[in-house]
Symmetry: C2
Subunit: 679 residues, 2 copies
């Protein structure tokens, strides 16, 4: 409390930096930073963080869900002394700067999560708050409040309209996340103008319906004490997340204040001048703002210091937990965890890969305490819950605890994916979440941000093809594998048997900066002769090696064993020798040496690909493609496979056509390319 | 009112049919049909429909958003006399039946929209209700209430958790859709069991916050009069959509009633027997149910008859509107509408394709009154609003009218896409909606249902590549074109200039059973020499024809003109002749004769593809691919293009590498394939 002219100067400094940076870039969104500067100033001076170490484990988290307003965040990071210089601000939205058009966590120190696509940051913040609750549940001991940070999040009308934020808000209410404080920039403006044209609901009442505590600050432009009081009240409410509706004026200070004109366009030159004049702005004074902010930053550094001492004491008194937490914070996996992954012999029984995935989770959850599983209300179908798993729930519900490692996401696929991004960003958790592969598409917006922001999340995507049978075309993915394979920095595994499934888990867990989608079957799969953990970890390998083969059949997942039967069929019925190759993960296979890849798909032999999904993308590995470029069908799965000819006979027919077509033509392996793609 | 034993028999008949069909299929969801049979019985006997003509324009619409409970709907359709026999019920979930695992509108008479993926039906129903309001606004006259039907929708806890349903509910509240009545099956069970594990919000309060009228029927299992009274009350509320919370027992009658065990699995044999015994079920009596239901169906037929007479009179008194409506209901487009599409000469100025799209909308909206445009809060960026467009809004807001043809979807991409599916399903509207291409991904779940259920919706997807510049990687699509090209029955157009954009509109509007994604630029594009409406409508054509070419460069959209510059550069700097091909739409090009496609991409010349997005999918048309298999960058767009070498020089370098690599090798056109894919 007791705000002075210096506070007002700080606020106006943030506003003017936002005006200048967007003007210089001739691009960007000045309105939100100008409107939210007051609350940002008050809040950041209440938050615990250390600009010298943006990774301090117990720092308060800040998420700007309305990421287009990122000049607000860049200005704060700069003024508080993060590694973000005035030149970085001048390079706003310029090529290869650390101040891109929307905040990117992997680019810029002090950015917790990548935001901009609306609603994502909201759900990320819920994930960060869950991660705090969980980490506190696991590690806190009497006298050792190692984890007690808050997660603060700003969101605007756009985020409030997005379904993903609704899902996440409902979830946060259910989970009673008292450590989450969301501040709603109620400025009545979105890109199309006044929100009265599309968004007239009672947002406060909706959040109360979700089980949130709410506050309303009516003059968010000027009432600094009111803002602080509201935040303090929310901090006192420990059994509910809090939402502060903050009524502000977008573009405060501009001639266009309170209109859509200031939302997504820089101010005109005279307007920018006017803002500075209005604020009586004298650049010299801004050094005082540095002093003010650096003083708070120094307090943050001291708080981290205290925390480090506490943690040292903790490690002495609670050796096991201390060592475990130190390891997790360092980003290292436990020594030898991978030895627990199941290994199979070809004589082992056929089993669905969703069950094989369950066996992996069952085997490793004990040695990998950072693994936190869950499902979007398909637990029994996704097989994501190990025996004796404890649910992550507020303890007073009597159905779980904060330290629980199984999350009931509800039927909220998009929020699940974004919450997992938040869980992963917190730094102590490896999240895995299940739904049907077809419904990972609901989460496409969040998964692309997992990939872009380089976080390790695992999508356990079961029922991965027409093989799910009776549920029919509404549930049978066709385009989905191609979609996620096309996404940069996303690993798509489609294992064919037990060893390949274990390899998928090994890859997913050791890929620290990459999300993984595991496409898993509902139906049983036999164990392959030549599959081993090692071969599968090359992403692709020879599953049936036949001398003098006339064709190579390349496949994934449930179709590999049918391709192997086809090879036998070709030999027995047609006297034709065929090789079979399994490529459970394109991305991993592509990373092998060209020499190895040419061994797997050699020159001189035409290649036929087989996958019971769309053929797109297979041209990279095959000359001819057999797939399904139409929607599936509802029926028992064997009948559906037969209808579309994914049978030994159907594959053989196409293999013979392929051999015939390339007869007498010199065949170059698809691995041979003229140049390297831009990766 | 005055319900008798016969009503109870009807209800129990529905329940038993659901039990028997799921048992016979050994698959499916008996629980929801058993719990919702009472409300279905009451409601359907209040609804106006004619089983003899499921397409009657003013029928009440029914949407089962919890589509997994489709045995409820199939039983009703059968009992009321739609073309769905008892044998069809026995074939539930069997191959090639009209009773698939989830309801598919194009398969089954009486199904309005394809549901199953949770939340979709909710938003579809909002679209259907909007379409009624709009059609009434356009056509109703004093004495001629041509359009006054209700839209009824059932939804469960799963739908209530989905973000898309939240978006659509907020939108329906804003729009005051008094013609929409949603019935919430409050049975406290989802697949993971009791909803208390994940979903504890106050749903009624949330809907009130959206501006809905709400009712609660506490005994949805037995209180038929209460159900009817609640529905009648909601019918009286004309300025708000209504939600009836109906507390029911899932699997009513089963030993597992009220548990998750009855949600997604058929009943055990003894339990099924027990249900029949409990209900004192005597199959003979079910004929009485037919009689009861057929009597109501006959009333529906009579109502349609009355409506047809009213419509005849309307056509006489309101000739213009009558003829227009008759045409729209027949599915025909106005004679010669396509002549309004703009045509360009190569000397016309360069212009962004989002502006070219605007020019199309401006040119055709007058002659095509069924076209209803809109945007997810990006109107000024998507250029989706023609001058003088009137907003679709409740009239009392003073910012539009029901007859308005511009929809303010708010920042609700997923709901927008599903609402458009509902608008299209109503039968009088062609919907177009805008957002950035990158955020069509938020709507992937709905777009796949557009494709599956074969509806004509148009996604105006602007800012289609790294060419959007400063907004950066969070907003720059990479995988998106591949994703939607991989989706069956979805047309993806990426026009390179004005004539190609007009072709895209021609194609989208004449594709009655296919959705279209139009990928449009933010940046200006020159008009191409050889582009014409006719050539573009072949999906692919020769844009630069050069004799004795050493390479063909194939491209789309904004990269075509750069490829043409590259061809000049190759000639001038290297004396190399290059052809250039533009393929604005893969799906349309694939539908041309092989002869034509081989003319465009002939044997003997290696092909290099160029597109500033991921390369996946281009292997179908090219030997070598130049694209971007990584995320983009924030910066002025020309610098971003230069960074990734999408320049005449960058393309030429790769063209030369391609020529070199295929030197001395007999080159087969990628069009030549060994066999036809399964389409």
């Amino acid at each position: 409390m007791g705000y002075t002219d210096l506070d007002q100067l700080a606020i106006n400094t943030i506003r003017v930096l936002a005006v200048d940076a967007t003007s210089k870039a001739n691009s960007g969104h000045p309105g939100a930073p100008m409107g939210m500067a007051p609350v940002a100033h008050v809040l950041w001076n209440m938050m615990n963080f250390n600009p010298q170490n943006p990774d301090w484990a117990n720092r308060d988290r800040f998420v700007l869900s309305n990421g287009h307003g990122c000049m607000l965040q860049y200005a704060l990071l700069h003024l508080f002394g993060y590694k973000l210089t005035i030149d970085d601000l001048k390079n706003f939205r310029q090529l290869d700067s650390i101040t891109p058009g929307h905040p990117e966590a992997h680019d810029t120190p002090g950015i917790e999560v990548t935001t901009g696509p609306l609603g994502q940051g909201f759900a990320n913040a819920v994930g960060l708050a869950m991660a705090q609750a969980h980490s506190g549940g696991v590690y806190n001991k009497p006298g050792f409040e190692l984890f007690n940070n808050y997660t603060y999040m700003f969101f605007g009308d756009g985020c409030a309209m997005e379904g993903i934020a609704s899902e996440a808000a409902s979830m946060a209410g259910h989970l009673k996340l008292g450590n989450l404080i969301a501040i709603y920039d109620d400025n009545h403006i979105s890109i199309d103008g006044d929100t009265k044209c599309a968004f007239t609901e009672d947002v406060t009442k909706r959040f109360e319906a979700y089980g949130w505590h709410t506050e309303w600050v009516k003059d968010g432009d000027n009432d600094l004490a009111g803002i602080e009081a509201a935040i303090r009240k929310c901090q006192q409410v420990t059994d509910k997340p809090s939402m502060i509706k903050l009524t502000t004026t977008i573009g405060f200070g501009s001639k266009l204040a309170g209109t859509g004109g200031v939302h997504g366009n820089p101010l005109k030159a005279d307007d920018a001048q006017g803002v500075k004049k209005l604020f009586g702005f004298n650049p010299e004074e801004s050094f005082a703002v540095y002093d003010l902010y650096h003083k708070h930053a120094a307090q943050g550094a001291a708080k981290e210091q205290e925390w480090n001492q506490l943690f040292q004491k903790y490690q002495a008194e609670h050796k096991t937990e201390g060592a475990d937490l130190a390891r997790r914070l360092s980003g290292k996996l436990p020594e030898g965890w991978e030895k627990k992954l199941p290994v199979y012999k070809s004589t082992d029984p056929a089993i669905a890969s969703r069950k094989l995935s369950e066996a992996c989770l069952e085997a490793i959850h004990d040695v990998l305490p950072e693994l936190v599983s869950g499902s979007a209300d398909l637990t029994g179908s996704n097989n994501t819950r190990w025996k004796n798993a404890v649910d992550f729930q507020p303890p007073d519900l009597g159905i779980g605890e904060w330290a629980g490692r199984y999350i009931r996401y509800g039927v909220r696929e998009h929020a699940m994916a974004a919450v997992m991004n938040g869980l992963a960003a917190y730094g102590t958790i490896i999240p895995a979440g299940g739904t049907f592969l077809n419904f990972v598409s609901y989460a496409a917006g969040a998964l692309r941000l997992s990939a872009l922001s380089r976080v390790r999340v695992i999508h356990v995507a079961t029922h991965d093809s027409i093989g799910l049978g009776e549920d029919g075309p509404t549930h049978q993915p066709i385009e989905t594998l191609a979609h996620f394979r096309a996404l940069p920095n996303c690993m798509v595994w489609r294992p064919a048997d037990g060893n390949e499934t274990s390899a998928a888990y090994y890859s997913a867990i050791t890929s620290k900066h990459t999300p993984t989608v595991m496409a898993l079957t509902r139906q049983n799969l036999p164990q392959l002769e030549l599959s081993t953990l090692e071969s599968a970890l090359k992403g692709g390998y020879v599953a049936v090696d036949t001398p003098n083969a006339a064709v190579t059949i390349v496949s994934t997942g449930s179709e590999v064993s049918i391709a192997i039967e086809a090879a036998t069929y070709l030999q027995e019925k047609h006297g034709v020798a065929a090789r079979v190759v399994s490529i459970p993960c394109f991305e991993v296979f592509d990373a092998q040496t060209k020499e190895y890849r040419l061994q797997v798909l050699p020159d001189g032999i035409p290649v036929l690909s087989v996958e019971a999904c769309c053929t797109m993308g297979w041209e990279r590995y095959s000359h001819e493609q057999f797939g399904l470029n139409r929607f599936g069908a509802s029926g028992p799965y064997k009948e559906v496979y037969a209808k579309f000819e994914f049978t030994p006979e159907g594959i053989s027919k196409r293999a013979l056509a392929t051999i015939d077509f390339y007869k007498g033509v010199p065949v170059r392996s698809p691995i041979n390319r003229a140049f390297q793609q831009i990766l």
